[in-house]
């Protein structure tokens, strides 16, 4: 039952589109196709990659129906509140980084638990639960920071921002390790397969003896965990916490994760798809700048491209079923 060549090509069509685009950008700009640019692209994608790991986990465990299935829109807000807590502790309260991180972890755990309770306990639509949670978290963040920027000069944070490991940006190395850990857990272990089954078909999973509720709960906790981890990189990126960064991150996260589904031959949300999606979105931004596209037009081109890819993915999937 092997697929014919043409179908396999269709399966990777979205990847081909982007490969062509990047080749074009590379020809147009002398700097785009270089290792330095690649490092820059991945470095800038780091916070999005990490929150997308969280979202991908929730989607994998909850199913990819964005309204009724699994979605967690509160991850960026979680990252922002954790960043605010850490920045506040470090700069205003004079606490140590580990203590600040533990405090932030507590906050993230509470958020994850509330999300899980709302979705699993009360059976609230995840879209709704996490969207409203996001609003609440952003509000609480404002109380913590009084809507002010809090700068951070902690050594570790600065190392994550500027440091290198084996000559590669520290944040990229750390994120790569994190991605591998996530990938192994979700795609290469029994636990991960059960998580995937839970999202693939709740009924099927339950009948196979999988405790689906537990997995959905875990997915929200993991998402909050991803938000917590991301906060450190958010702090590093901004050398502190700046108000109002969650909105952009939210859009990029959703985009990256669901764009990733278009990259997957099975057309489902996967971890590596989400990571690739985040990197591609970041590469588009850098690429457009490097060939001097009018800044007012970049959003339009980005949006159109994404629609093109998602449409091609949807058309090719329909063609096979």
């Amino acid at each position: 039952m092997t697929q014919p060549m043409s179908q396999r090509l269709l399966g990777v069509f979205p990847i081909i589109v982007f490969a062509c685009l990047f080749a074009y950008l590379g020809v147009q700009s002398t700097t785009f196709l270089s290792l330095d640019t690649l490092e820059l692209i991945t470095k800038q994608a780091v916070p999005t990659v990490i929150v997308s790991l969280g979202l991908a986990t929730v989607v994998i465990a909850g199913g990819d129906d964005v309204v009724a299935g699994g979605i967690d829109l509160s991850i960026p807000a979680t990252a922002i509140i954790c960043a605010a807590i850490i920045a506040d502790q470090l700069t205003n309260q004079g606490a140590s980084l580990p203590f600040a991180m533990i405090l932030a972890f507590g906050a993230a755990a509470i958020i994850g638990a509330i999300n899980a309770f709302l979705v699993v306990g009360l059976r609230m639509t995840p879209l709704l639960a996490t969207l409203s949670m996001s609003v609440a978290i952003v509000g609480i963040t404002k109380v913590i920071t009084s809507s002010r920027r809090i700068g951070v000069t902690d050594e570790t944070i600065v190392f994550i921002r500027d440091g290198t490991i084996f000559g590669i940006a520290a944040s990229v190395v750390m994120t790569t390790v994190l991605v591998l850990v996530f990938y192994h857990a979700l795609h290469r272990t029994r636990w991960g397969m059960n998580m995937q089954a839970t999202g693939g078909s709740r009924d099927a999973a339950e009948i196979s003896g999988i405790l689906t509720r537990r997995f959905v709960v875990q997915s929200f906790l993991i998402a909050a965990f991803a938000g917590w981890i991301a906060s450190v990189f958010v702090l590093a990126r901004g050398s502190g916490s700046s108000p109002g960064t969650e909105e952009n991150m939210l859009l990029e996260m959703v985009l990256a994760t669901f764009l990733g589904a278009a990259f997957s031959p099975r057309r489902v949300v996967t971890l590596w798809g989400a990571v690739l999606g985040a990197v591609v979105v970041s590469a588009l931004s850098v690429g457009f700048i490097s060939i001097g596209v009018n800044v007012f037009w970049t959003g339009c081109i980005k949006g159109a491209l994404i629609l093109l890819v998602v449409a091609s993915a949807s058309v090719t999937t329909k063609g096979r079923s």
Partner: protein
Amino acid sequence: MTLRSVFARFGLIIIIVMFFSFFSYVSPVFLTFDNQVNIIEASAIVLILALGMTLVVAMGGIDLSIGIAFDFGAAFAVVALKDFGAAWYVACLIGVMGGALVGLLNAILIVGLKISPFMATLGTFFVGSSVERVFTNGGGPISYRRMPQEYRDLAVGDVFGIPTEVIIAAAVCLVYFVVLERSIFGKRIHAIGLQKDAANVAGIPVRRYMFVAFILASATCAIGGLIGSANIRMFTPLAGFSYLLDAIAAVFIGAAIHPKGRPNVIGTLVGVLFLGMIGNGLNLMGLDFNLKAALSGIILVSALALAVAQQRFR
């Protein structure tokens, strides 16, 4: 009647009444006629957008681009008035058509290209935002202070003392109620929302209905845009986005108080008024604005949780 059954029947209503009493208690102004009118007036635009959203959600979709439709409605109308000297009613028509254009794009993406509504309308949101920015050379407002009084009256006029925007919102609400809850069009929309394949086999032209519904929803949101632009006599690019969350929240609060958990017009109305009351009440309480932001978020989560819990107790 047990406590549980009382809660199951009236849970959210009790919460609403509790908040109402609380605000009346802490703020002497809350209960005044003027302030109640303020709440209703401030809810008019949100209600119109939430109704468009109700239609889409009832059909099993979601529309993240209602803000763009709102903006297009405002932009088309203001430009028609300002640059083409159109009569106010012509401008209204053009505005609604501008909004419908957004719906058309959604419909083509969702019905024609079979992209999921979430992704498609997210894409429309990106493309639409960018078009707005390009069109306004980066996002500057288009102000038209000397717009015809009739057009301004869409927002600030009144009929027998009732503000026009409230009348418009009520009219849209009534039309939506009839269409969605009483007409056979609505019945078919609900059938599509519940089980698309079955509706298709039952001979409902699903694709055509979805096409029409997405356009209708966007056109409705454009009416909100007309009022919005009349309110401040200008078109502010990307203004519509700020209504998205409230619209979604209102629809789902409304669905939560429906016996079968379906999106519905009356529920949406209740949801919008509830959100409006909270916003107004917190404004009147004299809290620090950061604290207010936190409280309104926490109230939103709690209210939604209660609404859903109430349903579970049935």
